[in-house]
């Protein structure tokens, strides 16, 4: 099993290397300023962010100015939105009646594309960190909330009867039965929220009035017509997105080990 996993990983890596080689050859042949060679992009990424002194873990000042604020915004926004979504979702999902009453409003709030609301947050908070954080939190809270509520609502009835038959307290029922039951759906919502938070983080940095972050770096490259730097920003965001998703999957696999194992058995 493990040997096969290794083989696929190596195979995929080879395919990836092959495709990058084709990309390199294609851009070399086309010689179009809009499409710099991948090697140029990597060199630019190195210059921009990873050629710093060893004492700073090779991070340049540019990296400290671009990457860290972006990641910080995203982490804080994601944490706040996720926490709010989980708590509110559990509260809404505990009662079928409350869920029914709020369902329409929540579906509406989720359907609003977050960028449409950015001006509202601009008016309320002005440009800056507070606005960006509020915007990211507000954007991701709905998918988490709705998925958590859905999970909390679909607790196996026999589990609830078992709680009752063994006289478990409300707190025990909530934390030991309803919360774990809701976890698989909650994680589905959190995964959506993770990719959404990356999107809205970048979007909030593309707006005028931003002074740092990867999105700001993209705008800056756009204005100075620095195409390699622009591609460097895009590749960096792709890598970050990939890594964050992998990290999330590691956590999910740990937390939901029982669920996945049981699923496999059924399947």
């Amino acid at each position: 099993m493990r040997g096969r996993g290794m083989r696929t990983a190596v195979f995929r890596l080879l395919v990836l290397v092959g495709l990058v080689a084709i990309w390199e050859a294609g851009t070399w042949a086309a010689d179009n300023p809009f499409f710099p060679r991948p090697s140029t992009i990597v060199v630019r990424m190195h210059e921009l962010w990873f050629s710093g002194p060893p004492t700073a873990l090779f991070l340049t000042e540019g990296a400290v100015a671009d990457i860290l604020p972006s990641l910080g915004r995203m982490a804080l926004g994601f944490a706040g939105g996720a926490l709010g979504g989980v708590v509110l979702g559990l509260a809404v999902g505990l009662s079928a009646r409350v869920y029914d009453y709020l369902d329409g409003v929540l579906q509406f709030l989720r359907a609003i594309p977050p960028p449409a609301l950015v001006t509202v947050f601009l008016v309320l908070f002005g440009f800056g960190l507070r606005m960006q954080l509020a915007f990211i939190m507000f954007s991701i809270v709905w998918p988490v909330l709705l998925n958590t509520a859905d999970g909390a609502r679909s607790v196996e009835p026999l589990h609830l009867q078992t709680c009752q038959a063994f006289r478990l307290s409300r707190a025990e029922r909530l934390f030991r039965v309803i919360l774990p039951s809701a976890l698989p759906k909650m994680f589905a919502g959190l995964r959506l929220a993770l990719s959404l938070s990356l999107i809205v983080m970048v979007f909030s940095e593309l707006l005028p009035g931003t002074t740092n972050g990867i999105g700001f770096q993209l705008t800056f490259a756009y204005q100075s017509f620095d195409l390699p730097a622009m591609w460097a920003g895009i590749v960096l965001l792709g890598v970050l997105g990939y890594l964050l998703n992998e990290l999330f999957l590691v956590v999910e696999r740990r937390v939901l080990a029982w669920h996945h194992a049981a699923q496999r058995l059924v399947g």
């Binding site: 026999l158 589990h159 009867q161 078992t162 063994f166 030991r176 029982w258 194992a261």
Partner: protein, 256 residues
């Protein structure tokens, strides 16, 4: 121990889907008795059990456990449901599943763990504590559910078709397990089944219910020479005779 007086239950009263599950049912169970309740499928057996356990409030009549009117689940009562795969919690280890109800008993953590381990030993699963339910076979999962009920040390144990979802061999093993643990623990057991043989084999007394709305149509004392054995008990003339009688009672009212 258990007194059921003129119990009735109607689902969806006043709607077109109104269903009378139980109608005027009277029953009393003595301390230490192992009572089997048999009846045709869909006759309201589970409704009866849920009324005794305080999981539903019957629309008429009353249930008393140890002299107290049942309004919610009485203390010292434990339930084993038919569907072990949905009554055990898949996110908890076997030991945690068994120990969870003990939190209501003012025991500290190590005491709870010990009690859970003891209960697992008594159902022959002393090595399974750290496993998760999905890693066990169906019969073993039902043993865990029984251990969970035993660990609680109830004075009244309710079992709702506890062997309905396992294969024949496992079923016999579990029947003997119930007879064995019953000898070790002082408790009253009410076991619901639709299997006529099982009711006679396991019970001290068999009560036969009519089809819905359920009421008692037969009440037989099972006086078989003990200890019971899957082969010899089942070929005993008294067993054969009782089985036939219970069968007639169930059939007679199932086909009307």
């Amino acid at each position: 121990m258990l007194e059921i007086d003129n119990l009735s239950h109607v689902y969806g009263g006043g709607t077109p889907n109104e269903h009378h599950a139980i109608d005027g049912l009277n029953l009393s169970v003595a301390e230490g008795e192992l009572l089997c309740i048999v009846g045709p499928s869909g006759c309201g057996k589970s409704t009866l059990l849920r009324s005794i356990a305080g999981l539903i409030t019957p629309t008429g009549g009353q249930v008393k456990v140890e002299g107290n009117l049942v309004r919610q689940t009485p203390d010292n009562l434990a339930v084993v449901f038919q569907d072990y795969s949905r009554s055990l919690f898949p996110w908890m280890s076997v030991a945690d599943n068994v120990a969870l109800p003990l939190r209501r008993k003012n025991m500290d953590k190590s005491r709870r763990r010990e009690a859970a381990q003891e209960a697992l030993e008594s159902v022959g699963l002393e090595a399974a504590g750290r496993k998760y339910p999905f890693q066990l076979s169906g019969g073993m999962q039902q043993r865990v559910a029984i251990a969970r009920a035993l660990a609680y040390r109830p004075t009244l144990m309710l079992m709702d078709e506890p062997f309905g979802s396992v294969d024949a061999q496992t079923r016999e093993d579990l029947e003997d397990l119930v007879l064995k643990v019953r000898g070790h623990h002082q408790m009253t057991i009410v076991l619901i089944t639709h299997d006529i043989d099982e009711s006679v084999y396991v019970g001290d007394r068999v009560v036969v219910l009519s089809k819905a709305p359920a009421h008692v149509v037969g009440d037989l004392k099972v006086d078989l020479p003990g200890p019971r054995d899957q082969i010899t008990t089942r070929e005993h003339p008294d067993f054969v005779h009782l089985r036939a009688e219970v069968g007639r009672l169930v059939r007679g009212h199932a086909t009307v």
